[in-house]
């Protein structure tokens, strides 16, 4: 990434600085090729809005979410406490992340283990930047386009955040269309609960295909997601339906960054 500033907490500390917010990248955002593009789009927006942020870089480690949900409480707590130790050492106060699983775990499950932070999802954070006038959006290339939003379970049902991503999409002057199962009743993409890392049990269909069909029913040009895992699942679903030529799966942060030609 040229011209982008991505300072680490360690670098900031050496300069005696404390960033406004820690950007928790997450494993997917760090290693998955598709998710890295979401990470970069979000970083471009943070730079554009002059947000003072930092990442943990090589000091970041899995939050433990997939371990906990696979039933390994021990591994989860080991991960959690190690992360908390690092973040508390840097006196982290506020965290933003583009992964609803990291978001949920740090926000809800770290406090009991000694990690108390203000944690926001990147769609909420972007919304607040807009509200404060630090970031502006023009419709740009998405004006009038049909976009449907898939609610990530760990953002929506699990944490009651339904409106921030939708508000952002509406700011693009796009036509937001809802799937028949949305918000509280949104159907899972099939990745949660550590399913991402295993083959599904025997059945007659894959969950991501079922969900992609919900999305395609709305005749969208773009399926918007707010989670790197949902993004993978839906992208695979669109491919399974042979629709990759006319339907794109994009993160909300990518939509905004693209609208601004960033």
């Amino acid at each position: 990434m040229e011209n982008s500033k991505v300072p680490t907490m360690a670098e900031m500390m050496m300069q005696g600085q404390q960033p406004e917010v820690l950007f928790w990248v997450g494993c997917s955002g760090s290693f998955d090729d598709r998710a890295k593009r979401i990470t970069k789009a979000f970083v471009r927006l943070l730079n554009q809005a002059n947000v003072s942020f930092a990442v943990l870089g090589t000091e970041e480690s899995c939050t433990g979410d997939p371990a906990k949900r696979a039933g390994n409480e021990f591994l989860f707590q080991m991960q959690a406490m190690a992360n908390i130790e690092v973040m508390n050492a840097y006196e982290v106060k506020k965290i933003v992340t583009a992964c609803p699983h990291c978001f949920n775990t740090i926000k809800n499950e770290y406090p009991e283990l000694g990690g108390n932070y203000e944690v926001v999802h990147h769609t909420e954070f972007l919304k607040s930047l807009l509200d404060e006038g630090r970031l502006t959006i023009e419709g740009g290339q998405f004006k009038g386009k049909k976009i449907t939003f898939h609610d990530p379970c760990y953002l929506g049902r699990a944490n009651n955040i339904f409106e921030a991503p939708r508000d952002l999409i509406e700011k693009l002057d796009a036509e937001l269309v809802e799937m028949k199962r949305s918000r509280r009743n949104g159907l899972c993409c099939g990745a949660g609960g550590a399913q991402m890392f295993k083959e599904p049990e025997k059945g007659n269909k894959d969950v991501n295909v079922e969900r992609t069909e919900d999305a395609l029913e709305t005749q969208p040009e773009i399926i918007a997601a707010g989670c790197p895992f949902c993004n993978t699942m839906l992208t695979d679903g669109v491919k399974a339906k042979n629709r990759e030529h006319d339907v794109k799966v994009m993160d909300v942060a990518e939509l905004i960054a693209n609208a601004k030609d960033l």
Partner: protein
């Protein structure tokens, strides 16, 4: 004057309530077999939830047709039961329509009961049609094969019989009132049964009295039988929906329970000052705590109450991404299995004079298979869908925890994932030192 009727009635009442109390005691004992969990916080919010969700049926109407029909039956059940008070007093003291002295207000009450009774009849028939003729997916689902399917129909037949008896009783009574029969003073308004009473017009008075008495007795006997049927049926929800919504989880659904035993262990491991060779603390008289749940006694009491509360409506299963794509997991079955196993454990305790004797069976493996619990995406769809805030997901998670922490029996790919997290801090095999490489790509 003979008091046989009154005595018979009091005996019947005592037997009905006595047996019910006997079963409630067993129910409470079984629920208390679960582990302790503190749900005494935020009483205000809890009362509010109970008022809104149980009393106000707020989650029922998310599916409007079933929701509205259910509200009618529910209102009918509650309001018509005001009449029960009069029936009991009349039965004990040998009076007839004792509350008749309220005049216009009494007429209003009886009149509205009748209208409600008809609405209940219509709704119950609609429910029967949905189950047996339209065959809605969640009602013909394999979860319900056998007894559960019959149970659901028996409940509906029962309500038809009770409402019909109520209307026949009123119709005969009305006919007797109209002809000024001895003992049948004028009381009540009969907007519905008034349409039936002409049938009795040409019958001898004694016959109509016999019909009225028979309907009266069968109605109250029916109610007592129905009350005692609850314990053996999915219909317990009419009582348990209230405590169940009160004690439900209040935190964000994504926050899963923290295992504090593990926290103590991990803190000890990470404490540089801890002495690794220190002797175990001396208070280890108790058996070491098991991680997760293998059987019903390992679940907490709210999860066990959840199981008794479940009325098997299947909204959870019809929202479950695993089930609707053909996997074996069904959150409704998780609740039904938990209740069946709990009942089995309870009967075992009854047979063995108050202590549980190992029967070689457990909830996990004998009722719920690992294949079912590994299909869960932890999406909380089932928890959201439940009209009375039952939490099947927490049971699934406890069973998973047992499989992984006590038996190391995770699917192979998950073991690989966990090994990666442990070794390189990510679920995939990437070096932690490469975590920031994206910056320069």
């Amino acid at each position: 004057m003979s008091y046989i009727d009154n005595i018979l009635f009091v005996l019947l009442l005592a037997a009905g309530f006595g047996y019910f109390a006997f079963n409630v005691k067993k129910l409470v004992r079984n629920i208390k077999l679960g582990r302790d969990i503190d749900r005494s916080d935020n009483p205000g919010e809890r009362w509010g939830n109970m008022a809104l969700i149980a009393l106000g049926q707020s989650k029922m109407v998310k599916r409007p047709i079933a929701g509205i029909l259910h509200i009618i039956v529910y209102l009918g059940f509650i309001i018509i039961n005001i009449e029960l008070l009069e029936i009991i007093i009349d039965g004990i003291f040998g009076t007839h329509r004792l509350f008749g002295f309220m005049g216009g207000f009494y007429n209003f009450l009886i009149g509205s009961f009748e209208v409600l009774a008809v609405l209940v009849l219509v709704s119950v028939i609609a429910f029967l049609v949905r189950r047996n003729i339209i065959k809605l997916w969640r009602f013909v689902h394999s979860d319900l094969n056998g007894w559960p399917k019959s149970d659901a129909n028996y409940i509906l037949y029962f309500e038809i019989v009770l409402m019909t008896l109520f209307l026949i009783m009123n119709a005969a009574d009305n006919s007797l009132q109209l002809r000024g029969y001895e003992g049948y003073h004028t009381a009540g308004a009969y907007p519905v049964s008034g349409l039936i009473s002409p049938i009795f017009e040409n019958m001898p008075g004694a016959t109509v009295v016999a019909v009225e008495r028979m309907a009266w007795w069968l109605h109250i006997i029916g109610i007592l039988v129905f009350m005692n049927y609850l314990y053996y049926s999915k219909h317990l929800h009419i009582l348990l929906a209230f405590p169940n919504t009160y004690f439900a989880y209040l935190k964000p659904k994504g926050k899963f329970r923290n295992n504090e035993t593990v926290t103590r262990e991990v803190k000890l491991m990470m404490d540089p000052n801890a002495d690794p060779f220190a002797a175990q603390p001396a208070d280890t008289g108790a058996a070491p705590e098991k991680f997760g749940a293998k059987d019903v006694q390992d679940l907490h009491w709210v999860q066990l109450m959840n199981a008794y509360t479940c009325t098997e409506c299947g909204r959870c299963t019809s929202s479950c991404p695993a089930n609707i794509t053909g996997k074996k997991l069904s959150p409704r079955k998780i609740m039904m299995d938990t209740r069946d196993r709990l009942e089995e454990v309870g009967k075992n305790i009854d047979r063995n004079k108050g202590t549980f004797v190992d029967d070689g069976k457990t909830l996990l493996f004998d009722y719920i298979t690992p294949e079912e619990i590994w299909a869960c995406t932890t999406c909380n769809g089932c928890v959201e869908a439940c009209p009375v805030n039952i939490d099947p997901l927490s049971i699934i998670m406890d069973l998973r925890q047992y499989l992984v922490m006590e038996q190391s029996a995770a699917p192979m790919e998950l073991n690989n994932m966990m090994a990666n997290v442990e070794n390189n801090g990510a679920p995939w095999q990437y070096n932690q030192m490469d975590r920031l490489n994206w910056k320069d790509e």
